[in-house]
Symmetry: C2
DNA sequence: AAAAAGTTGAGAATCTTTCTCATAATCGTA
DNA sequence: TACGATTATGAGAAAGATTCTCAACTTTTT
């Protein structure tokens, strides 16, 4: 029930916005590109324009409903903001994304920022590599 | 004297490549977009095509001579690889970039990766905010 | 229900980056 | 030092991602 969130953000409760939120909520991957969302909506028979998706995602980002992440590869990915900050680990083989949170790292960042006279607003930490279990050793 | 580096990477020593390296070495900002390099070269009377700049930067990246960074905003920025890994702090007001290195964070990343069965290849840590000294409080 | 305000879809436009291909430069060798 | 094989360059076209434009349409307010 996010119609509240939309209203709070000064956004009208429209069909495209609800559907986009739904997709983000249901996606098992949790991290989707605008195109991913576009295709998933099409599959469900919702013909929502790509331009609308980008527009809405940008509005959602401004409202704090979603986060936009810049992984390698140019295309931005979006995730629902579930209130808890976390960083990301991206498997270069499968594209799998795992979230993690580490208070030691968070704390160090604050200290480093302070030491540099830097007002820390946000940060992006992404680990790149491969999950060992995702490795297809010898199989077909 | 990087002609050695170019040869070692299996790249011919050409005028565009030398000039691009020069620009990267001399740039006080240390972090340039392909366009930045293109414009700086033009200012020096070097008419090198943008396509060449992108091509060369990609080759340099593969050879480990430069790093490609993805700050917010879509455009990639490049820096000369001076052999010492570091992360970045970006001022949203001035665009100023400051490098830092923190062994505690590096170590934590390795531990986190290990705990997740993740073979860590690389990482990107960027702090966003503003340098307090860059703040134009009241001035003209 | 009508008016006011905000939203959508489609395609055009923009921006960044890569590709194509004919021409030109580099490098090892004769 | 010139030759030939190889590789690189420049310009413009092309591709990919995202934003813009604007007329038609919903939502919300009155």
């Amino acid at each position: 029930m996010e119609t509240q969130d939309l209203k709070k953000a000064g956004l009208k409760v429209t069909h495209p916005r609800m559907k986009i939120l739904e997709i983000l909520e249901r996606a098992p991957e949790h991290h989707l590109t605008a195109e991913d969302i576009y295709r998933k909506l099409l599959e469900e028979g919702e013909q929502i324009g790509l331009a609308t998706i980008y527009r809405v995602l940008t509005q959602f980002e401004a409202a704090g409903l979603v986060n936009r992440l810049h992984f390698e590869g140019g295309q931005a990915v979006f995730e629902l903001d579930r209130g808890t900050h976390h960083d990301h680990m991206v498997c270069s083989r499968t594209g799998r994304v795992v979230e993690f949170y580490d208070e030691v790292i968070e704390q160090r960042q604050r200290e480093i920022a302070k030491a540099h006279g830097f007002r820390l607003r946000d940060h992006s930490l992404i680990l790149y590599g491969e999950f060992i279990e995702d490795e297809d050793t010898s199989s077909s």
